[in-house]
């Protein structure tokens, strides 16, 4: 069985930085990434706003990912793409599945940097039909920027997470109509700069203290019912696409079975958005590099 001092699960920003730092510190490292390339969510981010503290200027997520891919390639970290870690065991082995088959590897330590999944409309739960045309913001982003698809024409956005605001801007840039962004709180969420650069700059109509309470349409989405929370007033809004930006949930599926008395074992650490949702990729990189290089308090607390 192959043995690595460090197994890194997930090759997004956190995983790449942690693997690179550990390899640079002389550790033997295996970095497993389920997609066909390293980069994680950065791969689908065509907008600028990444790496200000690293480069002194902002580049696109794709360019930022490319920079880290090169750094990982220059390190001695071993990278497996298209490879999923199916399970971790307490005996510090992991089962990996990929195009070269199923393999079990042994490791000393493990960093889980599997990122997040998005809260979906289906989890709300929403009344009405189940037509096509309902996407999370991240899925819409992947369909547009990795698949180069058009996802619809008239879009309602529910929730004001950052990815939703960034996508609102991209929809308008791509010539799609954003009917409105519906947010149940009294103010938009997300970063101030996204509110300014995406919502205000592109004049996205915003409906605060409101929610989408029903989905309509058979086949393709034909509209949603928006309810004002304070007045209870309902309004049918015609649209063919609903994009949800309801927040991110760290994907810790793999360590579910690893907990002992509510604690993770000493050899297992969470990193990046899998640990907590970060505002800036720069802070992900900083934390992940320190964790990979075993600097700071992370392994010892």
């Amino acid at each position: 069985m192959e043995l690595y001092e460090l197994l890194v699960v997930g090759g997004g920003a956190a995983g790449m930085a942690a693997a690179e730092a550990a390899a640079r510190a002389g550790r033997s490292v295996l970095l497993a990434e389920r997609e066909s390339a390293l980069g994680g969510i950065l791969r689908q981010c065509v907008h600028r706003g990444f790496g200000r503290t690293v480069f002194g200027e902002e580049v696109s997520g794709q360019a930022f990912a490319e920079y880290w891919r090169r750094r990982v390639a220059q390190s001695k970290a071993k990278v497996l793409t298209d490879t999923s870690v199916i399970s971790l065991s307490r005996d510090r082995t992991a089962l990996l599945s990929g195009p070269t088959g199923l393999r079990r590897v042994r490791f000393g330590r493990c960093i889980l940097s599997a990122g997040c999944y998005e809260r979906t409309a289906e989890s709300l739960p929403l009344a009405g039909t189940r037509p096509s045309g309902v996407y999370t913001a991240g899925t819409a982003q992947a369909l547009m920027n990795l698949g180069h698809y058009r996802i619809g024409n008239r879009i309602v956005i529910l929730g004001s997470g950052d990815v939703g605001q960034i996508m609102a801007r991209q929809f308008v840039q791509a010539g799609l109509e954003v009917v409105c962004l519906v947010e149940q709180r009294g103010a938009l969420g997300g970063l101030a700069r996204n509110r300014r650069d995406c919502i205000e700059a592109y004049r996205i109509p915003v409906r605060l203290r409101a929610t989408v309470e029903e989905i309509r349409g058979t086949g393709r989405l034909s509209g949603v019912v928006v309810r004002e929370l304070d007045t209870g007033k309902r309004e049918a809004v015609e649209c063919d696409t609903l994009v949800t930006a309801l927040g991110l949930i760290p994907d810790r599926t793999l360590c579910r079975a690893m907990k002992e008395e509510g604690r993770l074992p000493d050899w297992l650490r969470l990193c990046g958005n899998c640990d907590y949702v970060h505002d800036m990729v720069d802070s992900v990189i900083r934390e992940a590099s320190a964790l990979g290089a075993e600097k700071g308090r992370e392994w010892d607390n």
């Binding site: 070269t100 992947a142 180069h148």
Partner: protein
């Protein structure tokens, strides 16, 4: 004009099982399905419970069939390569009204011959289901109750029927049906069909199909029910199907541990508004959440990953009144099966229709075979079907061998449910035409991300296989494109 001995109208669970049963005889069988795939009507959404048989009135065909079908279910699932979870069930009472119902069900079940049925003390019930809320007084335990994935069962019956020679025609709604000599002529938009016997399994439309030939007698008045689906993170929260029998009038709560490790909660019961297909109702979903707080107060409703609605096809006898057909006041309790001049109609088959699907299919097939004058047995009939590989359920060594031989099974497309590219491709080869067709066959898209991650890969695999642009690929049914434009459309 296409000719065959038996025409089955409707490719739901009943139609697929009728076709499968018919292929055991030397008859030619053709199934006409209105939609693009099997199990897309009433069969698409239900509890997936295999009932033990204590709910139905003794002496009825329904009671006899249900008890037998439940006993035979492991064998049926074995033959078809379908997962079956014989988890048993608890019917829980929280007061004297419900206790009386349980007493009645116990007596009824014993008369029907349901094995192992017994009343539990509150202590015993809490030992078996510690998460049930306070105030439970007694429970009726039925060890025979189980759960099955309805899609898996229906698709297995379809594949087995097809392998045994039944022909399936999709996107073929029957618009006209008439008697012509000793045959029936059926017309779909694309083709006409002639058959000596017709089995009508058209689900919600079975009354309309029958009325293409005969005057109204029974009509289907559907009711809708809402369900919540919880993630497999709550697997093991309840270990049996739990039927909560309410003290007050109204519907109780049913908790269903599925073969996939999810927990289903539901159904409510409400009048169907008839306009929007399979729409959930806000009040229904909210009432389920409220019931959960008393019946299973510790259940983490944060783990809800989906909600859906099911339709019950309730059959009502109708009479003519001032030129209109008015339903009699009460729905027919038994199975409504009519045999009229070579047209066999399975009308309004509701609970326990899933449990009895194979039995009902056999029953209809035998009637058809009799009408055809007793053709011989098909010596090449094979009741067994080999299920395609599912890597998640495989033992490590076998899985390693499979992925080594076929790397496609190593590449995971659906992360939530651990579904490989190989499984996606199997589903497409076996007939999945839409994203949901792939979902029903593999489980891809049924996890917590609801297809957010696998959507693009499944879409592209379908488009490549069908040699269609991606915007022509539907999610579920006609006019439900996953994307509205292909490469470069931006």
């Amino acid at each position: 004009m296409e000719r065959c001995d038996v025409l089955v109208i409707g490719g739901g669970l009943l139609g697929c099982f009728a076709a499968r049963a018919l292929t055991a005889w030397n008859v030619s069988v053709r199934v006409l399905e209105a939609r693009e795939d099997v199990c897309t009507g009433v069969s698409r959404a239900n509890s997936g419970i295999v009932y033990a048989g204590y709910d139905t009135r003794p002496g009825t065909l329904k009671a006899r069939m249900c008890v037998k079908a439940c006993q035979d279910f492991p064998r049926l699932c074995d033959a078809l390569g379908v997962r079956f979870f014989r988890c048993g069930s608890l019917m829980a009472a929280f007061g004297p009204t419900a206790e009386r119902v349980l007493q009645k069900k116990l007596a009824q079940g014993r008369e029907n011959g349901v094995a192992g049925l017994r009343l539990l003390s509150a202590g015993e019930a809490y030992t078996m289901e510690p998460k049930l809320g306070p105030g439970l007084t007694t429970a009726l335990y039925a060890p025979g109750t189980g759960t099955v994935n309805p899609w898996e069962l229906g698709i297995a019956a379809f594949e087995n029927a097809r392998d045994n020679g039944a022909a399936f025609c999709f996107s073929s709604p029957v618009q006209a049906l008439r008697r012509a000599g000793d045959a029936y002529l059926a017309e779909t938009p694309a083709e006409s069909y002639a058959a000596r016997v017709v089995i009508n399994c058209a689900g919600l439309g079975a009354d309309r199909v029958r009325e293409l030939v005969f005057p109204p007698a029974w009509r289907i008045v559907p009711t809708a029910g809402d369900y919540l689906v919880l993630d497999d993170t709550v697997s093991g929260f309840v270990r049996h199907v739990v039927f909560h029998e309410p003290e007050e009038k109204g519907k109780g709560l049913t908790l269903i541990p599925t073969v996939d490790g999810n927990l289903l909660i539901g159904p409510t019961e409400r009048l169907w508004n008839g306009s929007a297909d399979w729409a959930t109702a806000r009040e229904g979903l909210e009432s389920l959440a409220a019931l959960c707080r008393t019946v299973v107060p510790g259940l983490p409703l944060t783990e809800v990953i989906r909600s859906f609605a099911a339709l019950r096809p309730n059959p009502y006898a109708v009479r003519e009144e001032n030129g209109a057909w008015v339903p009699e006041h009460k729905s027919i309790n038994g199975f409504a099966i009519l045999e009229e001049d070579g047209l066999i109609s399975l009308l309004g088959i509701k609970t326990p229709g899933l449990t009895c699907a194979a039995e009902l299919g056999k029953y209809a097939a035998e009637k058809a075979v009799h009408l055809l004058g007793g053709p011989g047995r098909n010596s090449r009939f094979r009741p067994e079907r080999t299920a395609p590989p599912a890597v998640r359920d495989m033992e490590e060594k076998r899985r390693a061998a499979l992925t080594e031989a076929c790397p496609e099974y190593g590449e995971l497309v659906c992360r939530c449910r651990e579904i490989s590219r190989g499984e996606i491709m199997d589903a497409i080869r076996r007939g999945a035409a839409t994203l949901d067709g792939v979902k029903r066959r593999t489980g891809a898209g049924m996890g917590r991300c609801q297809g957010g991650r696998c959507m693009r890969q499944v879409l592209e695999a379908l488009a490549a296989d069908r040699k269609l642009p991606p915007e022509k690929i539907n999610r579920d049914g006609p006019d439900s494109p996953v994307v509205t434009g292909g490469y470069g459309a931006l």
